[in-house]
């Protein structure tokens, strides 16, 4: 028998054995060519995939079956304008709850700031639990190593307060994100002086991989006093002032788009004017 024909015959036999295993992962193997017997063990591992992946979330099942039943009902019922109006009203109410561009946010309100291609959503809540956070790996790198591993040029401020130097570069890798995502996903540059006063610049790519882009950066904080629109290098930016409720500001952070990047500059030891000056010098 020619090799191709032999392969076809063996492939059919293995397929039958595989289908039997899928129906019953504990089924006894059927006799196969000794060379293919190991494939049955592999197929047995794969046949357990549904069990490994877990059951359907009851919420998803309800959602899907609700759609199925709803479609059946719609085939029987004519269009009801009053339901459409109620749906639109509910959607508008949701939109109004979101703070529009430029409006000062008060602690506890949800704020969305449009920077251009992206937007920043500011939320206030308790400190996220470990289970709520994505798994992250922080890695200290030299600036050269970080630059070599990243698909974008790392910008840096041309102006820094007296005594500030680049102290550390940290790459953040998220192992649970899709494999096609270039990692480290973003880098953080820490600048500080001898007294420990510091500022931090985080650099995120807007475009990731070949077909994806960041649409929104979620800024979560336990307390903030003010969020407002500012400008950095002629670009819309968001300035966030974080506080502890006492009226003394703890941190300031500016987020803006710089070419194909999102930059977030934060510090507790700089005034708003100084922070804006540093941000404006980034190149």
């Amino acid at each position: 028998m020619k090799a191709k024909e032999l392969e076809r015959v063996r492939a059919e036999q293995v397929s039958q054995a595989v289908d039997r295993l899928i129906r019953d992962p504990e089924a006894m193997p059927v006799p196969l060519d000794p060379e293919d017997a190991g494939l049955v063990d592999t197929a047995r591992r794969l046949a357990h995939l549904p069990a490994l992946l877990g059951p359907v979330d009851p919420v998803l099942e309800r959602q899907v079956m609700s759609r199925v039943q709803g479609a059946k009902q719609r085939r029987k019922r004519p269009f009801r304008p009053v339901w459409a109006a109620a749906g639109v009203a509910a959607a508008l109410l949701l939109v109004l709850l979101i703070t529009p561009l430029g409006q000062t946010a008060i602690a506890g309100f949800l704020g969305v700031f449009h920077l251009g291609r992206t937007q920043v959503q500011v939320t206030q809540g308790g400190t996220p639990t470990a289970t709520a956070r994505a798994a992250v790996v922080r890695e200290t790198l030299s600036l050269e190593d970080a630059q070599a591993r990243l698909p974008f040029a790392i910008p840096q401020p041309a102006y820094l307060p007296a005594g500030y130097d680049l102290q550390q570069v940290v790459g953040y890798t998220y192992p649970d994100l899709p494999a096609w995502l270039p990692q480290p996903f973003f880098v953080e540059l820490l600048y500080a002086d001898a007294s420990g006063a510091s500022c931090t610049l985080r650099v995120y790519p807007i475009t990731v991989g070949e077909e994806a882009s960041i649409a929104q950066l979620n800024l979560a904080t336990t307390s903030f006093e003010e969020a407002k629109e500012v400008q950095v290098q002629g670009q819309p930016a968001m300035l966030l002032r974080l506080g502890d409720g006492s009226g003394r500001s703890a941190w300031r952070e500016i987020v803006w788009e710089y070419g194909d990047l999102i930059l977030a500059l934060s510090a507790s030891d700089l005034t708003e004017a100084e922070l804006l000056q540093v941000a404006g010098s980034v190149q």
């Binding site: 595989v18 357990h48 998803l60 899907v64 470990a130 931090t200 979620n218 800024l219």
Partner: protein
């Protein structure tokens, strides 16, 4: 063609199979659930295009393939990062070593080494529970060709998984 009632049970039967196929095609449970829901949304909307009720499975999985392909063409990410300057992102506690999660990881890594077509056939076979003839209808191949691709993919997977 049967009434919509006839398909309710089929939709319910195929939901876990569609979900598992999508889970193997994308990363992240939330995304998989969103895409699976989208598959059924589209199926319900296009139910009138189903000519042969006996081909429901292949028809539904063709929709699932298209939904996943559409996602990969137009994806945009919402960065789900806790970025609070006053609370620097802490190192997470090491993930609990759960045997079945490790097994799933090994299988996913091995699958990622296959060609796109080999991956899809494995995902339709083991995630979706489809026979070779159904896979052939979904992917526009001959059943015999599906068997050969499956055979070759299993050989590659065996070699990879035995290394672990």
């Amino acid at each position: 063609m049967g009434q919509a009632d006839d398909y309710t049970d089929l939709y319910r039967e195929y939901l876990p199979r569609i979900l598992n196929f999508v889970r193997l095609r994308v990363d992240g449970e939330d995304l998989a659930q969103d895409l699976a829901a989208a598959v059924f949304e589209r199926a319900v909307a296009k139910q009138h295009t189903l000519r042969d009720p006996a081909a429901f499975g292949a028809w539904l999985f063709r929709i699932a393939r298209n939904v996943v392909a559409g996602y990969y063409r137009k994806r945009r990410l919402t960065v789900p990062l806790d970025h609070a300057s006053a609370h620097p992102v802490a190192n997470p506690s090491p993930p609990e070593a759960v045997m079945h999660q490790e097994e799933l990881r090994q299988v996913r890594e091995a699958l990622a080494q296959l060609s796109e077509r080999e991956q899809e056939i494995i995902q339709l076979k083991f995630g979706g529970g489809l026979g070779n003839q159904e896979i052939a209808e979904v992917m526009g191949l001959r059943a015999g060709h599906v068997a050969v691709i499956l055979y070759r993919a299993l050989r590659k997977l065996r070699a990879d998984l035995e290394k672990e």
